[in-house]
Symmetry: C2
Subunit: 327 residues, 2 copies
């Protein structure tokens, strides 16, 4: 059994090795941006999930590394194209690909990454390869659907909480879910537990995204990588904003809508005003309650999984870790 | 045995059926542009190649339709993203996707199409599915490489003919080659003949692209769908231009380079001047000779294929048709 830290360092070595390989490919203008996008790093959570899940059933985690790479390359492809669509100039303190290079480079290198993800998965020679490809490809399309809903919501004021949950499920949660199921499929795990792992990842993904929405407003600045209130500034239709619009009296609702419509504004004043409205409506507690519910579902699924406690303990550690509950 | 016309009408019905289906999917803003891109039509040459090749070995062509759809959807995905990268506002007398909708729609709908192509291929339930997926995915990445080389060439004056041939091989020919091989693989054809079909498609693709370069300058306007001289106007590094630069004396070379560098110019004068240079260097005959060589290779491969003449006659008809030699 590998610890999360061991799996992280294992996949990190692999990704770095692949980056070197990719950087040596021609045409340079296609592949160098791919290497750059992959080198921007992050915690490699998704490929770790593939390995972690595989490791529940088998020790030979090296066999599932191509599938883990597929997930990581696909995830970074979505970030690359999303940054361009959202005109997000920075990612993890580096220039995003379309800013460092140009828009054409971002489009085409992203396209290549999406295809490369399949090529990695096609290297994963297991009896379950067909199911793995089907799951991956279905999930990939769902992620595109999620991104479209997210963009659609930008120009809508009437997004319901259920629509929002459907969007983050597609945009964020299904890839975490598929990462866990892919590992299980590769290991030839029974269908029931593969499905449980999918659901574990799905609920964890939703809890994770809701927590991200919450932290954007209520995190302590020093612990938070991004700028506090960034979502408020950019009118992102987060769970917090949608819940506030739902609960606000007509007068408060008008105030929120006015701030959303302002083209020029003092950013600090906007963040402060909206945060105060959140406070007055108890949005923090409501969001925490939602997160708790989804997280509880994660724990319930974990309990029900027909695996020895010790065997599955690292999976629980992982959930705690990404929810920031590991300390 | 089906005739080309029958296969064209068969795939046309299928594509239209899929367009209807796609147009009913949610989110609308993601899938409607996909339906639009697919409805812009064209001659469906590539899916016909899949069916035609399959039909060399088996009558039940309906079984390979998902693979034909995969190729058509992938091809239209590349057109969609290429149009955006090339800022080409029109395609086949319709607005290109990024112009009709917007750039974000073009990026994301294209991404979805690339994934949908795999989903179609995954529906093609044959014993050779794994080989088909590998071939398709390898080819898809090559097409991206070809597009990158093409864009790289825009800012280079020293592109060699061999580099150019490598580029059109990747950008255009490998997808025609793969279309034929996919059909053969799906039908469980012997490896030797599957490879011959790939090579047939590859050489035909190169001849086809060289002919396209030639027609851009020397076609009769009424028979040509596009504007004569469009490649000259936009400084496209075609075979004709590269050959002219290679053969021109220093003085003529300077004239060519001056026209390429001009930001403002009279289009007609540019097209006429460059065409006169082509005439003085005998570029038309040289290009025709190159086309003849690649086409001859196509014919040789056809001759060598271990299939009854009658069985493989439609394949030859197809080659003649796309080279405009069927009358």
């Amino acid at each position: 059994m590998y610890s999360i830290k061991e799996l992280q360092s294992l996949i990190s070595v692999e990704v770095n090795h692949e980056i070197e390989l990719i950087n040596s490919l021609e045409p340079k203008n296609l592949y160098e941006p791919v290497g750059y996008a992959l080198s921007m790093g992050g915690k490699r959570l998704r490929p770790v999930m593939v390995l972690l899940s595989y490791n529940l059933f088998s020790e030979s985690v090296e066999k599932v590394i191509p599938a883990a790479m597929a997930i990581e390359v696909f995830h970074n492809f979505t970030l690359l194209h999303d940054d361009m669509m959202d005109q997000a100039e920075m990612r993890r303190n580096s220039l995003s690909v379309y800013k460092k290079y140009n828009e054409n480079v971002a489009i085409l290198s992203g396209d290549a990454m999406s295809i490369m993800a399949y090529n990695y998965l096609l290297k994963c020679n297991t009896a379950q390869q067909y199911s793995m490809l089907r799951l991956f490809s279905k999930t990939a399309l769902e992620v595109c659907e999620g991104q479209q809903y997210d963009m659609d919501f930008e120009s809508r004021m009437d997004v319901s909480i259920s629509e929002y949950l459907h969007m983050i499920k597609l945009k964020t949660a299904v890839l975490l879910a598929a990462s866990l199921e892919l590992g299980a499929l590769a290991a030839g795990a029974p269908e029931k537990i593969a499905t449980q792992l999918y659901d574990f990842g799905l609920n964890l993904g939703i809890a994770f995204q809701l927590q991200d929405d919450l932290l954007d407003v209520f995190a302590e600045q020093e612990k938070f990588g991004k700028k506090i209130g960034g979502d408020i500034e950019s009118n992102k239709k987060t769970f917090l904003l949608l819940k506030a619009i739902e609960l606000a009296d007509p007068e408060t609702k008008t105030i929120i809508q006015d701030w959303i419509q302002k083209k020029e504004f003092d950013a600090e004043m906007k963040v402060n005003t909206i945060t105060e409205i959140y406070n007055s409506l108890g949005i923090k507690a409501i969001t925490e309650n939602y997160i708790r519910e989804f997280y509880q579902t994660v724990l319930n699924i974990w309990e029900e999984m027909d695996l020895e406690k010790e065997r599955k303990s690292e999976l629980l550690e992982f959930a705690k870790m990404i929810m920031g509950r590991d300390h």
